[in-house]
């Protein structure tokens, strides 16, 4: 145990933050392109241009003077989501639904036009984006597929797929719990569910401390549960990875009840907790993906993982 603290080289299987930054992020993700992923408006432009399924953009508001007119034009829709383009941790996101007699409801409360305008104003003036001014995104409201409801009914679940050089290497399903306040983030008491990428099935639930075979709020076991549209989800994540000039990405996806798989957002610095959720180190996962594609690499020869060609940056990056 103590020896591990003083091990200087990379771990042969698990990727730590130093390793991730030096060998995955820096060589694969040029800093000048970070904004394409960080700014939701920009990433959606790229997604739309490449015809990748994602929530329809109803409007983008950059100036205070546009708020009133744009909001009025959005009133035709039954439900919509208002988001800051550069928000973080889900702050500043409001989901609105049409109530009776043309009123709008957010959560369980009625919300007046003036309050909506005020919220948009604070997004634009940068309240949720740490100082700089921001744009406000108004988009289609995604209705989660019943598959999610079978596991846990409330909140916003999503899939996270890690791609390296356009190839999906690890995936997980993030689910809110009764303790996580609707959020699916592992740090905020959500749970991660491991995914067998090849089979498209769920493996085990990880709540940050323990491994379970069921969601903490639902006794039904999920091990082996088949994910609908899995092949499409993989294809969409490959297409998304190709559309961005960033070669190491965490792609967040969700399945809409009627429209099927949709990309939610794209991350340039995906977290490493996914290794714990899947009980497998990222280096090992990368090597396994390579094994499937090249017949020449002997199976499970861990010493080769360091020399993995996929980890080596392209010559002119």
């Amino acid at each position: 145990m103590l020896g591990r603290f003083f091990k200087i080289g990379p771990n042969s299987e698990v990727v730590g933050l130093n390793d991730r930054n030096l060998n995955l992020i820096y060589p694969n993700n040029p800093r000048k392109h970070y904004a394409l992923a960080d700014d939701k408006v920009k990433s959606k432009e790229i997604l739309h241009k490449n015809h990748i399924a994602c929530a329809e953009t109803y409007a983008v508001i950059n100036r205070v003077s546009e708020i009133k007119r744009t909001w009025n034009s959005c009133k035709q829709y039954d439900a919509l989501a208002i988001k800051p383009a550069n928000g973080c941790g889900g702050n500043g996101i409001k989901i609105l639904r049409k109530g009776l007699h043309g009123t709008w409801v957010s959560g369980n409360k009625m919300i007046r036009d003036q309050q909506v305008a005020q919220h948009i104003m604070s997004i634009i003036s940068g309240v949720y984006s740490m100082g700089s001014t921001d744009s406000c995104l108004i988009e289609e409201c995604i209705v989660p597929h019943p598959f999610f409801g079978e596991i846990y009914g409330t909140g916003v679940p999503d899939f996270r797929i890690i791609t390296l050089k356009h190839k999906p290497v690890l995936a997980m399903l993030r689910m809110p719990t009764s303790k996580s306040d609707g959020k699916a983030n592992l740090h905020q008491k959500g749970v991660g569910i491991g995914i067998d990428i090849n089979q498209g099935t769920l493996t085990q639930v990880f709540d940050g401390k323990r491994y379970l075979d069921h969601h903490p709020d639902n006794p039904q076991t999920i091990t082996g549960k088949i994910i609908p549209y899995w092949n499409e989800l993989i294809e969409i994540s490959k297409a998304t990875a190709k559309a961005f000039p960033l070669d190491y990405l965490g792609i967040d996806l969700v399945i809409d009840e009627t429209k099927g798989p949709q990309v939610m957002e794209v991350n340039v610095r995906p977290g490493l907790g996914i290794q714990l959720v899947n009980k497998i180190g990222l280096r090992k996962a990368i090597a396994l993906v390579e094994e499937q594609q090249s017949k020449y690499v002997p199976i499970r020869k861990l010493s080769r993982y360091k020399e993995s060609p996929i980890l080596r940056p392209a010559a002119n990056n």
Partner: protein
């Protein structure tokens, strides 16, 4: 990624050369290591000019002696043709006597020595041996120390009324004498006069304190010397020593040093004496010329001697007053602290507020003191966080919000300083502009983090920051470290080299070893 080979070579060559240069200096230096650890160093010259019409002149003064807190070296007695010098031991003191017998000419004597000194804090037990019954020479009444005058007795009894220990009694006497307004030396003040007119110089205060102490059976005496500073002066200084369990403990009731002697107090003699005595009818002028020297604390050499070994050090910056010594120290400590934080973040895996903030906080602690500083830091962050909370909820922009926090911090500190002055708590007044700004930035980071990650995570980061601060403080508060860096600036090149190594470190962080433990434990298949 591969560092180009020639760059690697260049770095290796530079490391090697700086290593050589280090070694070249370190060898002679290691022969001059000194375990006295003096904090200050002065060159002191007593200068006397005199003329006597009938030709027989004697000048007597006290000469310094070595003890546990002062070291005297390079003494020059000023003997020359026509002037004799003689050392004389008297009542445990050492006197120098110069005799000249040429009539009607101006003559001069320069007595010179090097002083190295360190501050000393003495520990006093709650209760100690009282010597009231034994006839003790340091319990006597003298002409100027009227220890048993009814007024002194009454005051002494009044002061220690209800005191529960010897320490408390001494503290009360000291506080009383310390509180007497100070006056310039105009005329001779004895103990009684000091008490009656409630105004005195160092001499009068010392006599009164000795009288009060003796009255209560604490053996005590006057101590004489010179307060060393980089000036020419004519005044000597007097303070008090009280015998505590066979040890003489110093008290300066004029400057408020309780059982403490600063490093620039030159001790010359014990007893109610004059520093300078000369034959009557002599025309005499004198001055004490004192020059402060740059002391290298752990070496028995000064900066000049070091420059002779190797001109390549940063002493030049200090000597030519390009940079103040304190500023240079902080500047040189920054990279060392930075390297430490880099290690703590990338190898240990601590999460801290920013990269240099822990170093800067540690530096601010050097001004406030560690324990008080940490408490102050936590208290202020919590307070400002709390007070700023309603402003955060107003949904204000970042920069104006920061100005509000800063203003609150300045107000709190102004109130704190005021209270500090009122209550005499020194560390409350130690908040200057540097700690203020650093504290504000930290408080701001903390409140922002609370909004982003919740209170629990923010507190955890705060705790980790404090751990990093403690490590930094432990290293950079070492007194010898800045001096080592001034003598061996090559070390900074090595900081760059170490940072390169650290920058290439891709092992798991220690915190990650814990986090990914389930994946690292070999599975029992």
């Amino acid at each position: 990624m591969h560092t180009p080979q020639n760059l690697k070579m260049a770095l290796l060559v530079i490391s090697f050369l700086t290593g050589l240069s280090l070694l070249y200096k370190a060898i002679p230096v290691s022969k001059n290591l000194d375990d006295f650890y003096a904090e200050e160093m002065y060159l002191v010259t007593y200068r006397y000019y005199f003329k006597n019409n009938d030709g027989n002149t004697t000048i007597k003064t006290y000469l310094p002696k070595n003890n546990s807190r002062q070291r005297i070296s390079a003494e020059e007695t000023g003997i020359k043709k026509g002037i004799q010098f003689e050392r004389l031991a008297k009542d445990g003191n050492l006197m120098g006597v110069w005799t000249a017998n040429k009539p009607n000419v101006f003559q001069n004597v320069d007595y010179q020595f090097m002083y190295e000194g360190k501050a000393t804090q003495f520990h006093i037990p709650q209760n100690f041996k009282s010597t009231l019954e034994v006839a003790h020479p340091y319990l006597n009444e003298t002409e100027h120390i009227q220890a048993f005058h009814p007024k002194i007795s009454q005051k002494a009894r009044e002061l220690v009324l209800g005191s529960r220990s010897d320490l408390e009694s001494i503290q009360r006497l000291f506080n009383f004498v310390h509180a007497i307004p100070s006056a310039p030396i105009i005329s001779f003040t004895d103990a009684l006069t000091t008490l009656e007119q409630n105004r005195a110089s160092c001499n009068g205060k010392s006599r009164l304190l000795v009288a009060l102490a003796r009255n209560l059976g604490y053996p005590s005496r006057i101590k004489g010397g010179i307060l060393l500073e980089h000036v020419r002066k004519r005044t000597s200084h007097a303070w008090v020593e009280i015998l505590v369990n066979d040890q003489w403990v110093p008290f300066d009731a004029l400057n408020g040093h309780f059982a403490y002697l600063p490093s620039n107090f030159l001790e010359l003699y014990a007893g109610d004496e004059f520093l300078l005595v000369h034959t009557a009818g002599v025309q005499l002028d004198y001055t004490y010329e004192i020059k402060e020297l740059d002391k290298i604390p752990f070496l028995s050499m000064n900066s000049e001697q070091f420059s002779n070994i190797s001109p390549f050090s940063l002493w030049g910056l200090v000597e030519q007053k390009v940079l103040p010594k304190k500023g240079l120290n902080l500047l040189l400590l920054l990279p060392i602290g930075g390297l430490l934080v880099a290690f703590l973040r990338n190898v240990v895996g601590l999460k801290t507020f920013g990269v240099f903030l822990p170093v800067l906080i540690a530096m601010a602690l050097m001004e406030t003191g560690f324990a008080q500083g940490i408490l102050l830091f936590l208290g202020l962050i919590m307070f400002v966080g709390l007070v700023a909370h309603p402003f955060n909820r107003m949904g204000l922009l970042q920069t104006p919000k920061m100005v509000i926090s800063l203003t609150l911090m300045v107000l709190v500190m102004a109130v704190g300083s005021y209270l500090g002055v009122k209550t005499g708590i020194a560390w409350l007044t130690s908040l200057t502009i540097f700690p203020t700004i650093i504290l504000t930035i930290s408080a701001e980071r903390f409140t922002t983090l609370i909004q982003e990650d919740g209170f629990q995570k923010a507190s955890s980061t705060l705790l980790q920051t404090l751990m990093a601060v403690s490590v930094c403080y432990y290293v950079i508060a070492n007194e010898w470290l800045p001096t080592v860096l001034i003598l061996f600036p090559e070390i900074l090149i090595w900081v760059i080299m170490l940072s390169i190594v650290l920058g290439k470190y891709i092992g798991l962080r220690w915190t990650e070893v814990l986090r990914f433990n389930p994946l690292l434990t070999p599975k029992s298949v």
